[in-house]
């Protein structure tokens, strides 16, 4: 038997290995879903309601159907079933039947020979609407005499967290109201899918999504097809951030393909993308914090209203998160948090990076700073003093197992190297990109004040509250041209986060083979769950790890049978037996990995509902031109507990990207709504941070391995968006002394210092339905 002297494996766990999907993506060679094409395909388009709330009196499609080149025009009347879809609550028909509940709701779909004709056909559909007054204030929607937007009322979800003594009293109490505007996930790749009818009467859909199997479940039900007749293949995903967790065009494009018996493609443009997918919930939050004179937290009370928009999407889980994590990563002996998600006639809200934890973190971190001021304490010290430790209980009564290095993160983050001092009023050349304002040199340093502040936040990893959370992986070890090659198939969607690289690195490490091929995800294998909740490394990484270990065990058995065993390979080392004869036939193992069960939620939300927690701290430094209200974020430093960095460079990418989204929410990103209508559905009017707005990020990866996670790797995707926003806003407060209780902060908020007021009086902790108009 031969023992080859192999070079050390490249790209194992812990290395900043290049991922195989990166070169084609950066070189423009990667096929995104919008590049999908099939000979003879038709082009689909969607007619959307221009009204936020209306009754549909009549739809006339005759003129549209008569147009040349139009193959199909479908309305609710043509739906094969009356089954509704929805991520958690089935409350929406694929095409509106009788009622529309938000501006942008699909009313009709068409397929035509080219996109122009499809659009023309859309224009030719005549819809008579009886316009009804729209309900756009979520607090008003909860009022008992608000019009009912759905048959079961306007409450999508109602979550109460009651912990300790909800009426506890404290020496020092601070209280305020906060507002978070609606944010868009703004993935650069718009929604796109190609459906191909199959000879068996079924359909194959190539689509950019976060969760193939969940799409499949909803599509098959609405089409009235058995699930085995619907096949999904992941198409190139150009970013997701939660926007692709819900069904958008999936059912439409399949309906058109089945109706025309031809391949049909739908690709949204940017404007339609804004109308097509769900957004981050706009929120109103009323908070009261109480502490002893020494600075020990006594209670947190909060009432939270999230605007769910026209349909539920994942609102129920977002509401639960806002409540469960609503007191922050602190030891809080007494809490009363009441969060409600309301149906309104605004565009629907659902998943976005941070998922409910973002909204409450903005409020409780502002509260912690207020409390520090009221106590005359240093805000960093106050946080450190109250930080959760291993084994402490959060306000849901669940003890933090694994690790809770919160105080450590705060200390480390505060000690990270600060940015260079402000440019000041310097004669001569100043780097204008470093100052507030455009490069158009609004200031050369005069009027600029610096502020620095720190914030900390947390949320859960994976799914919570007794959801059966699992992922399935198939690993096949074969011999190709004398070389062992591992093929990994899962249904996990690569949405840019790097799960492909994670699978490659894990398989390499476990199997000791250099060549790993991650196959295109499809529904021929079991579900991997969604690429959300910071869970894919944990869940699909865990499944790949388990499958690899089974393959390795079989390999060892075969080797023993062949008396070829030298020694079992250690992680990160190439196997040092000649594998070739052992891989005939190839070894294939499919394993489903589950995390340990979590408890369902009860009436007071006192249960171990989550599998693990993710923590991060952010310190932001800003320069503010106080006279014009223009802000330049100078630096963001972060310490994040990542468990174990499987690929440190990829982790840094997640941290930087998440901070960019947090910065966007802090100072510019807002879907502007007026009476339920979106005013800025374009990248010209919806402002995203550019590279010039994005400051240098100092990343400190803290590795406290979690015992349940593969290699101890916790999820990393969401924490960067959670506490970066409050840190930046706190830094602006520090520079300006303004209250700033709303994000995004606008120049006029700084210049005038006006605070956002909802006009509702609400006692923090009380049922949001009891709000009274002031």
């Amino acid at each position: 038997m031969t023992v080859a002297a192999r070079p050390r494996l490249r790209g194992v766990v812990g290395e900043s290995a290049p991922r195989s999907d990166a070169p084609p993506k950066t070189q423009g060679a990667f096929a995104y879903a919008s590049d999908l094409a099939r000979e003879g395909m038709l082009h689909g388009a969607t007619l959307r309601s221009p009204h936020p709330r209306a009754r549909i009196a009549r739809i006339d499609v005759e003129a549209a159907r008569a147009l040349p080149g139009v193959a199909a025009v479908l309305t609710a009347a043509d739906l094969p079933t009356k089954v509704k879809f929805g991520l958690m609550k089935l409350d929406q028909l694929p095409l509106a039947d009788g009622r529309v509940r938000y501006a942008g709701e699909p009313v009709a779909i068409v397929a035509a020979e080219d996109p122009e004709r499809a659009r023309e056909a859309v224009r030719a559909v005549r819809v008579e609407y009886e316009v009804l007054p729209a309900v756009t204030d979520p607090v008003a929607a909860l009022h008992p005499d608000a019009p009912r937007l759905h048959d079961d009322g306007n409450v999508i979800e109602d979550v109460r967290v009651v912990h300790g003594d909800p009426d506890a009293r404290a020496d020092v109490v601070v209280e305020d109201e906060y507002e978070v505007a609606m944010q868009d996930q703004a993935p650069l790749g718009p929604e796109a899918g190609l459906a191909i009818p199959d000879p068996d009467g079924g359909v194959t859909l190539h689509v950019a999504t976060q969760w193939l199997h969940e799409d499949l479940r909803q599509i098959a039900a609405c089409l009235g097809l058995p699930e085995r007749k619907v096949r999904l293949v992941l198409a190139g995903v150009g970013g997701a951030f939660g926007a692709r967790e819900d069904v958008t065009l999936q059912i439409h494009v399949c309906l058109l393909a089945l109706a025309t018996r031809r391949p049909v493609r739908i690709v949204y443009g940017r404007e339609e993308s804004f109308h097509g997918h769900v957004h981050r919930h706009a929120a109103r939050l009323w908070y009261a914090h109480g502490a002893t004179r020494d600075g020990d937290l006594v209670f947190v009370r909060a009432s939270i209203v999230l605007d769910g928009g026209g349909y539920a999407s994942s609102s129920s889980a977002v509401v639960a998160n806002a409540a469960c994590f609503g007191a922050g990563p602190y030891r809080v002996p007494n809490a009363l948090i009441h969060a409600v998600g309301a149906y309104t006639n605004n565009p629907p809200a659902g998943a976005m990076r941070g998922f409910g934890a973002v909204q409450s973190c903005f409020a409780y971190e502002a509260q912690m700073d207020r409390l520090a001021a009221a106590l005359g304490m240093d805000p960093v010290a106050l946080r450190g003093r109250n930080a959760l430790r291993d084994g402490d209980r959060i306000v849901t009564g669940q003890a933090v197992e694994g690790s809770a290095p919160v105080a450590d993160l705060i200390r480390r983050c505060a000690a990270l190297p600060p940015p260079a001092p402000p440019p000041g009023l310097i004669a001569g050349e100043v780097d204008l990109t470093a100052l507030p304002g455009g490069v158009g040199n609004v200031t050369r340093g005069e009027g600029v004040r610096r502020g620095t502040a720190l914030a900390v936040g947390f949320k859960n990893a994976c799914y919570s509250h007794a959801f059966d959370d699992f992922s399935t992986a198939r690993v096949r070890l074969v011999r190709e041209r004398g070389e062992p090659v591992a093929y990994v198939l899962t249904a996990a969607a690569e949405v840019g986060q790097g799960i492909v690289g994670v699978c490659e690195q894990i398989a390499r490490t476990e199997l000791g083979v250099q060549r790993v091929v991650v196959e295109t995800p499809d529904t021929s294998i079991g579900s991997a769950g969604s690429s959300s909740a910071s869970r894919q490394t944990w869940m699909t990484g865990g499944a790949v790890l388990a499958a690899c270990r089974e393959v390795k065990a079989e390999l060892a058995r075969r080797a023993e049978a062949h008396d070829r065993v030298r020694r079992t390979p250690r992680d990160g080392e190439p196997v040092d037996v000649d594998l070739a004869p052992l891989l005939d036939p190839p070894i294939e193992r499919t394993v489903t990995h589950r995390h340990r069960p979590t408890e369902p939620r009860d009436a007071t939300t006192q249960n171990a509902g989550h599998v693990a927690f993710l923590f991060a701290a952010h310190r932001a430094t800003v320069d503010v031109d106080v006279e014009t209200g223009i802000v330049k974020v100078v630096q963001v430093a972060t310490s994040q507990d990542v468990g174990k960095a499987i690929n440190p460079l990829a982790v840094v990418g997640q941290l930087e990207g998440g901070i960019a989204q947090g910065l966007g929410l802090a100072v510019m990103e807002e879907v502007r709504l007026q009476g339920g209508l979106m005013r800025n559905a374009s990248f010209t009017d919806y402002l995203l941070p550019t590279t010039l707005d994005m400051p240098p990020v100092v990343c400190d990866l803290v590795e406290h391995p979690h015992p349940d996670a593969p290699y101890g790797a916790k999820g990393v995707g969401e924490p960067p968006t959670i506490s970066s926003t409050p840190a930046i806003v706190a830094a602006i407060r520090a520079a300006t002394g303004r209250e700033l209780n709303r994000v995004p902060v606008r120049p006029d908020d700084i210049v005038f210092g006006t605070a956002a007021r909802s006009g509702w009086r609400m006692r923090p902790g009380a049922d949001p339905r009891t709000a009274v108009r002031m």
Partner: protein, 323 residues
């Protein structure tokens, strides 16, 4: 998108003939194509001007100032070291206009004649006054980016960065039509929509802008352009200021101050400029002039901050001329 015919003539005379027949001029298309795609503009015939020789590039004739062809890409002006020496304010105004990609394609004429950015105007579904409807939706709607001064029925703001800068240089334009040529002040190209006049520009049917001229005298003035944006790149001005003056022995002469982003036209008030004549452009003089410029401002619900911002930017721009 509506259907249209498309022609790309080589000769100016041909283009003018087509324009006379009711066709719409297309230059870089960075604005017009979006408007067509969104159903806001519905031209039946497009005349692509980019094939015409002689409308591109800029030149200087001693004593006669600078002539800039209307089809010159914005990037050509922005990146010319020679022009930066003669007329630095133009580079300053373009450096933050749109993006490098758009500046490569967008032209001088197109920039001056771009339509406004009011989001009601750009929404096909909103039949606002400027588009022939009965009312302005901004007056009682979302008005953060709208006008604070000089508006009548329509509260949109003139979006061009180049226009205030060139007006601060006393620029004129050459206007051509099949009937001949005329010259006008660039400032007169911009009109506040009012009464029967539901448009932003004063070109007559069949006319195009052939060139912009900056007189020799303006080259002797110092100028600066400040633009406040909500992010560091690729956004329209919330407020901008173009200022220029000749500084003699510490005193300002021939002062021009033009505001962008605050009114339906590049906003200029003769009294404010007169008030600055002979001053040292000290803080008091600058702020007093700013107050004159913004006198009578009537902000809408959301845009009062523009007045404060404009006042401060005027002060900074003028101060920097003195310094």
């Amino acid at each position: 998108m509506s259907l249209f015919s498309y022609t790309k003539p080589r000769a100016l005379s041909e283009a003018l003939r087509l324009l006379r027949g009711g066709a719409t001029a297309l230059a870089g298309g960075t604005d017009l194509v979006t408007l067509v795609r969104h159903g806001v503009a519905r031209p039946e015939r497009l005349v692509d001007l980019t094939g015409i020789e002689g409308l591109r590039g800029w030149s200087r004739e001693k004593g006669k100032g600078i002539r800039i062809g209307a089809l010159t890409p914005l990037a050509d002006l922005e990146t010319s070291a020679q022009l930066a020496k003669l007329l630095p304010i133009v580079r300053e105004s373009l450096r933050d206009a749109a993006t490098p990609q758009i500046r490569n394609v967008g032209t001088v004429g197109g920039n001056l004649l771009q339509r406004n950015r009011c989001w009601y105007f750009r929404d096909e579904g909103v039949p606002c006054w400027l588009k022939g409807g009965t009312r302005c939706f901004a007056v009682d709607g979302e008005s953060r980016y709208h006008a604070v001064v000089g508006a009548h029925e329509c509260w949109m703001v003139s979006p061009s960065d180049l226009a205030p800068a060139l007006i601060a240089c006393d620029a004129e334009i050459e206007v051509a039509s099949s009937l001949g040529r005329r010259r006008m002040k660039l400032a007169d190209l911009f009109v506040a929509p009012q009464g029967k006049r539901r448009r932003e520009h004063a070109l007559r049917e069949g006319e195009l802008v052939a060139a912009v001229r900056v007189p020799e005298g303006a080259l002797e003035r110092r100028g600066t352009y400040l633009k406040a944006m909500e992010r560091k790149a690729w956004s329209f001005a919330i407020v901008s200021v173009a200022a220029s003056a000749r500084i003699r022995e510490g005193r300002a002469r021939d002062v021009r101050v033009v505001l962008g982003g605050v009114a339906p036209v590049p906003w200029r008030v003769a009294a404010a400029e007169k008030q600055l004549e002979g001053t040292a452009l000290d803080d008091n003089a600058c702020l007093a002039a700013a107050d004159t410029l913004l006198d009578g401002a009537t902000p809408l619900r959301d845009n009062g901050y523009k007045v404060t911002l404009a006042r401060e930017l005027v002060r900074r721009a003028l101060r920097s001329l003195a310094g």
